[in-house]
Structure formats: structure tokens, C-alpha cells
Amino acid sequence: MITWFKLATRNLFRNGRRSLFTVMAIGLGFAAVNALGGFTAYIFTSLEDSYIHIQGNGHMSIFKKGFLNEGKLDPTRYLLNEEDVRVIDEVLQAHPEIRISTPELNISGLVSNGEVSTIFLASGRVSSKVDVIRSRSRTKVGNMQLFDGEPMSDETPNGLGMSQGLADQLRFKQGDTVVVMAPTVNGQINALDGQMLQTFNSPVEALEDKLMLVSLEFAQNLYDTTSVDRINVLLNDGLLTESMRATLQSELVARGLDIEIKTWNELSTFYTKVKNMFDVIFLFAFLIVFTIVVMSVVNTVGMAIMERTREIGTLRALGVKRRGIVGLFALESMLLGLFGSLVGVLLTLAVWSSIATLEPTWIPPQITRRIPLEVYLVPQEMLWSMLALLVLSLLAASLPARKAARMEIVGALGHV
């Protein structure tokens, strides 16, 4: 085996330039796939982290059954009342896997500056609990301040945040008093004064002139209710999301609650769409690399076979079986794949370290601030890429190698 390995390795250096080009083609392909894979991993992680931690939604949300389908038309019918929330809290507190849970009430109505009024959509939340969820962010963006002004606080229940577009429209600035109006759950019109604390950018451009943040207390006062529309749950380990959903679902139903639990990826349609899009892009990139690798290896092995036809005849005359010839060229192509992958690993590390050193920033879709651009190192993906390229190299060489092995020995020996 050592002899064949030695022979295969030395054969690669017979036409060093050609082998080098093939190795570089494989290496660049490897690096392209893994750099894209690393960027994709960064995007997926960022989107996941953004929804779960930065936006403070947690890993899953508990709703009254039907809220997501019917609740938009008649939200007050699908609210969780105080008793529901108490039972849910009891169940949640029995699970050490749960880091924190927080109620939320989403409201809509009119916001006015005294002269002009416009519609708004607002999330009413408990700021201290949302802060705990945000503090668990694993990304650089999680450590950035994504608003201008003061943070929301439990100590200022009338404090509110407003998307920049809405604030601009109504000419609000920090510290201004804002009049917020909405129908209560009983159908009465209610109005409350709020204090403008901060502006932020909406994650969805279409909502840039509509979004507000208020405290849960403010939202409940405006709707004149003690109910909420969901309980957001943050787990200690996101990998437990599915199993915890099932557990909580059965326990809450057993307690007589008619609820449904949705996980973060079910609720974040943007994540799903972006993931699908990047999966398609990744597939295209892989197919391009696949083509380059196959063509390079086929060319290299094909040329080697042509140049070494007499040698193949000699080896066969000496007693090497057909499968031995196939094995020799397969070994050579696998070595090409291996060397190419190692070059690819180095190139990927170079890309990764350059980006980590230069710390470039960018403005991704749906975020209006510059954030750090990252490419993650994904060792598992690199390992799979290496295996895939080795198999690909092997398969690419198999056809010309089999052809070489089936050559007539006499014809091969007489080849000029």
C-alpha cells in the first residue's frame, strides 16, 4: 500500500504545474463553498439570534388556541386572562430548562401629536424581562445599541419607543408627550399619555411609520384589560425547543388550558424565507464547484493516462490487475482532492482571519444600521466538504481510470 501511495504521490509531481492548477481549482472551490457556508451560518445565526434574543421573542410563544389564525380579526376573544397566565407561570416555573418567560400584549390604535393622528402597532412588554432575553444574545449585534434615546424601563411605565419613520412623521422627539388612543376590549375609546423615550428602526420597512414599543402595563391600561396575547419563553438551550414545546403543550393542556405553542422558526417567516434562499444559493455554488472539480480532475487524470499509457501497459505486464490500475489513478485523484481540500482549508482560514481582523461592516436587508460582517468557521461543514471533494475526485477519475485499465496491454506497451 505504501508503494502505491508513494507511486501515486510522485506521479502527481510529474506534471507539477498541471497538478498545481487542479489542486488550486479544488482549493478555491473548497474555499468558495466554505466561505459562503460560513457567511450563510452567520446570516442564519444572526437571524435566529435577532428574532429570539434581540427582538426579545424567546424560543417559543404560548397563545390561546386560534389566536394566530382568528385573533387578528378579534384579538380580544383570544387573550390569555390572569388565571391562564397564572397557570402557565406555574407550569413554566417547574421546568429548570426555562431561563425566563415574559407576557406580551400587542395593541394597535391611533397616535397623535395633537394636530395629526396616524395608526400604530405596538408591543407591550415587561422591559426588565426583555432585557434578560437580550442579554443572552451570542452575536456582536446583540451587544450593539439598536435605538437612539433612553432604554425602556419598568420604572417608566408610560415610556414608549417609536420607529424612526413614525417619529419623523409626527415630528416627535425624545421627551415629548405622545397621545395614544385605542378601543378597549369592551369597545370604548381610551386615550393615554406616553413619554417618548427612544426611536428605533423597524425590522420591516413597511412598518417603519407604524411601530411602537410600550410597557405591558401601558398596553393593558390602554386596552383596559389584565390579559395578554402571548407568553414568550426563553430556554437555556435552544436545542431543547422542540422537546420542550411538546412537554409544555401536554402539561398545559392537562391543566385545562386551550393553548397552542409556536416555536421561533415557525413564527419568524423571514428566517425561513432567507434560509430557503441561501440554501438555493449554496446549492448553485456547490454545483459550480462540483463542475470545476470534476472537469479539473477528469482533465488531469485523462492527460496523465494519455501520457503514461506505456507505463500502464508495463504495470499490467508485470502483473498489476485492472483494478490495480483503477486504484492507482483513484488514489492519485483522491490525493488531488486531499491536497486541494487542504489548500482550501488554508484559504478559508485566510478569508476568515482577514474578515475577523479587518472587521468590515455592512447594512443587511431589514436593518438600517451598519453591523459587523462576519464569516463563521464551521469545522463540520469543512469536514463534509473535504469528504465530498474526495468522493467527487474519486468519481471523476473512475471513468478515465476504468478506461485505462481496460486498454489492451500490447497496445498500451506500443503507445508512443
Binding site: I2, T3, K6, L7, R10, N11, F13, R14, R310, E311, G313, T314, L315, R316, A317, L318, G319, V320, K321, R322, G324, E408, I409, V410, L413
Partner: protein, 250 residues
């Protein structure tokens, strides 16, 4: 290494009414026309004749590098026509050594590694192969050139490496296709002497095609090929001769 272990009356090589036809483009070429020949162990046989007379084709058939269009090829009494490619490869590796006109050494391997190759193909360990290859290279006078790659050796030295490689498995038969054709007279003489010495000392049979009169003068049995037929055989042997081969060495 024991090469041919069967014991009996079978000659080392026997061809019965062997023909070989080729198709070159539209034109059929009859390379051999019903050849009958028998070669015994330890024989030293020269196949000579003009170009295109069928010398190389005959050598290729004896060496199982090619298959006849019709007729039977027997190696040590075993019919090889219908053997599978794998079986022919194994039999070739164990029984026959080859020396080619252009030496056909593997350029990326050293002289020693080239000689080790047939043993390693047979599955011998590196240690055993190295030891035996060194012995063979010493026999052909190249013990000081073991680490040299073919490109660093002269034509004569390369052919001696090729002979060492052909002998390393202790085959019963070495087939040499024009072994001196690419050598100057000095090297050609040394190669002829080397082959004769090995034939005498090891009992290895040699069958070689040649144009080289110097080589023919040293050979007892000369087979003249003419237009795909045996024109003359200076010392034909018969299949009935008792042959007992227990190994490559006498």
C-alpha cells in the same frame, strides 16, 4: 520465490496452431498463421526475423500479454486462453519476467523501487521485496545505483535494472522484446552475457525477439519467423521431454 510448482511432463510453453489476426482500419492483418512451438524450462531461445514477421506477436502471446485469435497457448501445461484477466495477471506476475526494448522503467521510482515492484504487486512485504531487489541489482552490477532514478542511468544500466526487475520474482521464463535494440555494442554485449549467465546459473528460460546478430551467435536455439510462420527452428524441442520444475533456480 517458487514460480512454477507443478510437476510433470508439460513443457514450459506450448503453442498449438496459434493464429493472431488484427484489424488495422479496414485492412485485416494476419500476424501469425498457425504456429506450433514448444519451449522447455531453462531454454535460451531467440526469435528472429524481419520486421513484421510476427516476432513480437509471438512473444506477446507467450507472455500472456495478448490472446490468440485461434489455437491454444499452454504455460506449464495450463491452457491460458480462457483464463480471466485477473488469473492471467497473477500467472504473469508469478511465472514470467519481461524485458522491453525501451526498458519501460517507472520514471518516478528509483532503480531499487523499480525492481521491488513485481514483488510488491505479488503482495510481498517491503522488507522482503527490498532484500530480494538488492540481491538482483547486485547480480546485475548495479548495487551502487540503487537510489538512482531511471533518468540518471545510462541505457545499459536501465536495461540491467529491467533485467533485475524481470528476475526478482524468480520466474521460470523471461521474455525480452529486442533487449539490445537501443544499446550500443558494448552494453549490448554485457546484456547478452548477463542473460546467458542468468540462464546458466539460475536455469531461467529466456525467449527474446531480436535482430541482433551478436545475440544470435550466442544462442543455441534460433527460431526464424517469416510472414507469420516459423521459417526454421534450429533446435526444436518436443513436448514429450520430461520436465520437472520445482522453482526458478536449478
Amino acid at each position: 520465490m517458487n514460480t512454477i510448482t507443478s510437476i510433470g511432463t508439460a513443457p514450459l510453453v506450448e503453442l498449438r496452431r496459434v493464429t493472431r489476426h488484427y484489424q488495422i482500419g479496414e485492412n485485416p492483418v494476419i500476424a501469425l498463421k498457425g504456429i506450433d512451438i514448444t519451449i522447455q524450462a531453462r531454454e535460451f531461445v531467440a526469435i528472429w526475423g524481419p520486421s513484421g514477421s510476427g516476432k513480437s506477436t509471438l512473444c506477446n502471446l507467450i507472455g500472456m500479454l495478448d490472446s490468440p485469435t485461434s489455437g491454444t497457448v499452454l504455460i506449464n501445461g495450463q491452457e491460458v486462453n480462457d483464463l480471466s484477466d485477473n488469473a492471467r495477471s497473477e500467472l504473469r506476475n508469478r511465472t514470467i519476467g519481461f524485458v522491453f526494448q525501451n526498458f519501460n522503467l517507472v520514471p518516478v521510482l528509483s532503480a531499487l523501487e523499480n525492481v521491488m515492484l513485481p514483488l510488491q504487486i505479488a503482495g510481498a512485504s517491503s522488507t522482503v521485496a527490498r532484500e530480494r531487489a538488492l540481491e538482483r541489482l547486485t547480480e546485475v552490477g548495479l548495487e551502487k545505483h540503487v537510489a538512482h532514478r531511471p533518468a540518471k542511468l545510462s541505457g545499459g544500466q536501465q536495461q540491467r535494472v529491467a533485467i533485475a526487475r524481470a528476475l526478482v520474482t524468480d520466474p521460470a521464463l523471461v521474455i525480452a522484446d529486442e533487449p539490445t535494440a537501443n544499446l550500443d555494442s558494448g552494453n549490448a554485449r554485457r546484456i547478452i552475457e548477463l542473460m546467458l549467465n542468468i540462464n546458466a546459473s539460475h536455469g531461467t528460460a529466456f525467449v527474446f525477439s531480436t535482430h541482433d546478430q551478436r545475440l544470435l551467435e550466442s544462442v543455441k536455439r534460433r527460431v526464424l519467423m517469416q510472414d507469420g510462420e516459423i521459417g526454421s527452428d534450429s533446435h526444436p524441442t518436443r513436448p514429450a521431454v520430461q520436465t520437472r520444475i520445482a522453482g526458478g533456480r536449478p
